[in-house]
Symmetry: C2
Amino acid sequence: MKILDRVNTPQDVKGLSKDEMELLAQDIREVIINKVNLIGGHLGPDLGIVEATIALHYVFNSPVDKFIFDVSHQCYPHKMLTGRKLGFINPLEHPEISGYSNPAESEHDHFVIGHTSTSVTLAAGMAKARDLKGEKSNIIALIGDGSLSGGEAFEGLNNASVLNSNMIIIVNDNEMSIAENQGGLYKNLALLRETNGTAENNVFTAMGFDYYYVEEGNNVEKLIEVFEEVKDTDHPTVVHIHTLKGKGYKPAEEDKETYHWQLPGFLDKKGNAPAVETYDSLTTDYIIRKKEEGLPIVAISPATPGATGFSKEFRKQLGKHYTDVGIAEQHAVGYASGIARNGGKAVLGVLSSFIQRSYDQLSQDLALNNSPATILVYWGSISNADMTHLQTFDIPLISNIPNIVYLAPANKEEYLAMLDWSVKQNEYPVAIRVPFGELVSTGIEDTTDYSILNKYKVEEPGEQVAILGLGNFQKLAKEVKQELLNKLGINATLINPRFITGVDAELLDSLKQNHKVVITLEDGVLDGGFGEKISRYYGNSDMKVLNYGGKKEFTDRMPLETLYKRYRLTKELITEDTAKIIM
Amino acid sequence: MKILDRVNTPQDVKGLSKDEMELLAQDIREVIINKVNLIGGHLGPDLGIVEATIALHYVFNSPVDKFIFDVSHQCYPHKMLTGRKLGFINPLEHPEISGYSNPAESEHDHFVIGHTSTSVTLAAGMAKARDLKGEKSNIIALIGDGSLSGGEAFEGLNNASVLNSNMIIIVNDNEMSIAENQGGLYKNLALLRETNGTAENNVFTAMGFDYYYVEEGNNVEKLIEVFEEVKDTDHPTVVHIHTLKGKGYKPAEEDKETYHWQLPGFLDKKGNAPAVETYDSLTTDYIIRKKEEGLPIVAISPATPGATGFSKEFRKQLGKHYTDVGIAEQHAVGYASGIARNGGKAVLGVLSSFIQRSYDQLSQDLALNNSPATILVYWGSISNADMTHLQTFDIPLISNIPNIVYLAPANKEEYLAMLDWSVKQNEYPVAIRVPFGELVSTGIEDTTDYSILNKYKVEEPGEQVAILGLGNFQKLAKEVKQELLNKLGINATLINPRFITGVDAELLDSLKQNHKVVITLEDGVLDGGFGEKISRYYGNSDMKVLNYGGKKEFTDRMPLETLYKRYRLTKELITEDTAKIIM
């Protein structure tokens, strides 16, 4: 019988011997590897934190004592020890338990978290409320060394250190971010590891924290010893633990970046997938070419190079033309602006969900300074992702900032033409919404001059109805056009707007002559987005406008089909709506 | 003859003796005090940095060597030494020179900057581009100790420290933010001051910077000595200088917070302004009352307590119920969420221009977690401010995030009712756009139940035209109603939406019966804002919609009258537009 079989709650952990806890760790690892192999998920971070999680539940008293996991992609062991192990063991129950902490699942979770560097901040707030209410409990933030590079983590540390009451910060140092760590902070962490935590020069003690170091961060017994020492402390305390990312699964120990996160079936995967052309490969090939042509081009990643196709090989080829700034999107945007203002060519690759972390830098550092840098926004779309990683909000976020030219290519040729224009020009900050999904190619080179701003492209002229299909949704627009013809006998005009950030007044006016309805389609939230600007433009006219896109809501791992139906984003439903107006 | 009379360019500084430089410092101080007394501006930061600025221009070779000022509210002396002294001396030329750095004014300025904690980041980008282009120059960021509390500053330091080439960061330590510094970082700065920079525990050396300390940061000679030593360094270097904020003007030296920034006429000001009721005082009185009633309420400021009326007296009264988190808006929002999730009542006061710095925290930490905290957004309006401090973008920023209830009170009674509702309820994250401008009072207590979301208030029923005047612009809506009556004989319906984040579908549908035109008025940028949602709603109907608000643009110290005219935000122009449609 496995130890895990008889562990359902934190209380059960407290009854185990040290040897049993070691066995429990093995059981947990096995389950994690199997679940990730079946449905995908985070592997390395969870394998590394198993012993620490067991030790925490052994020493502390959750949920009175509160654990706040940074990013929370390392909370699988915690979930398994707090009544949710079947969500990992039983494939039928897999979908019920998300990959991030969630108060709706358990009283042992306190926040929905999925973005980085927030745990110390959230914990500081919880500690403050506890103190004002006169309660007693341990508030414990668990933050990885990688997450420390985000500015909010520093802001949190700066304030947590003066709280003057109980607050425990576990720094889980596995010497890795998703890729390698970047920055001077990591010199200090290395020094602390080398000196077994005794170095005088210590960023944590410098800020006023009490400080403990545990070299054997995967040794339950050593962890328990220190956790017991700091339990019920009356002042802010850092426990720096040195763990092995991916521990217990050799390939993950050896290639920490690749096994940070895995798709289903990794156990059987042999060799690499065949090389196919994707928007990622188009991008990296382009950047390499420009570097080789001698351009002072810099590809920048905020610690997510894998997600944007900035592979190890690509990074190596670029050399000093590549900067990983750490999980620091604010700095990434400002840094790009600095490069641009001094004559360099900055190309920042960032996911839609994470560009959210730099609104003020987009506005002040980039747009206000008209810095001609290029921001590539990946994965922007209505999304079946976890609610913490939706990619739905970048259009309202970026497109309402003055000066930025935000472009939505609908195919390979447009994307390449826009990227090339953006890198070569020196007038505008440009963001490009990299098409999401399979590569679409027209086979015809795009020779458009994108310096003529806000010029939409009429793909196929028609009458009565005009369909504006933005970026990813140009495909849907074509389908709607066909459906309107089939069902209503309407030969609709098909338009590819390409510019998100401006209205083509001339074209919109010309449509008034022989069109009654304009349909807008955008692959993102409607509120504050592209379609509303078209509605506003036509507000004083007789033109009817139908805006289609996502609803303003946080959805959680919702199938796209469900969402498209809910948002009436199908050719049938759109045709139905159009018929009501026009027939 | 004054020394300043013969100094026009950095070259002129290089010819001065040390004694002449001391005299020049006096001249500069005199001019700054006089200009600020005439037109208002930043006082303490500029008086403190005079000697350092002279020394920088003496040692370095601007604009080949590049100075990047953090916030840049301390760049007055720099401007005076780079060809712009008449903008400080001659009242007629005052308006030509802004209070922040601006490349349009001079080749010695490299960025438009007005928000905090960006200088190291921008400088790192410039250094990167310099290196890739194979050029030589010194890149110098000047950052105050207060600005170090912002996360982007840390992100910048983390990366600048591994640049492996020339980069000089001057930490101007005057022991103050706008108010007192907050956080553990300042323990380390204090230690470094106490030990004349020799303490082993040093956050800068911990991150890998070379480090120099200058205790006499207002001594030109000592500064020059060290600047000459670090000039042309081949590695990232921090020069920590200890200066006196407000130096040379005794009241500013003694009350650093008050004299950080001053309104015109401060030299003659006697005593305090008489106490009048304002939205600020309503807020602070309310918070004090709740604290006295025993609520676990926490007022939070991101280092701008003065701007939101959180006076010294108020902060003292609140005691542990007040937290200044430093210039750390990200942390401020997350901290509020943490407090709320643990049963506390968080009230964050933040300017519209600075709430921009926390979009991701509003989305992830607050909205996704449905944390019932209260965010008070101050000064939100179309603005005659400097382009770096516009208050125009908060509506698109906040209102397109799911779950947040963003409210726009139009008068005192609504504001108090909304604030009270927000603090008492436990369901929603709430933001309130504190009315900007003079207090408006109806004299009648507002007993609305704001938990019934998105219910607009019909102030005066009418027909043909409905005017939706949001928040500050309810006043303009009333004027438009009167003008429509006077000029067109139309008895328009007057509506006070109060909710920014949702559409009152029932009311909007009912208007279709006897209205042809709906007018929306909002005191902020139109793009992504409130009015567009009304346009979208009516897109499939015969209702005409006219949206009024600001254009998507960065304006710079533009008189409101000019802006209102440009945006057609006057009763006459709106009536003219309406007549075109309806008559």
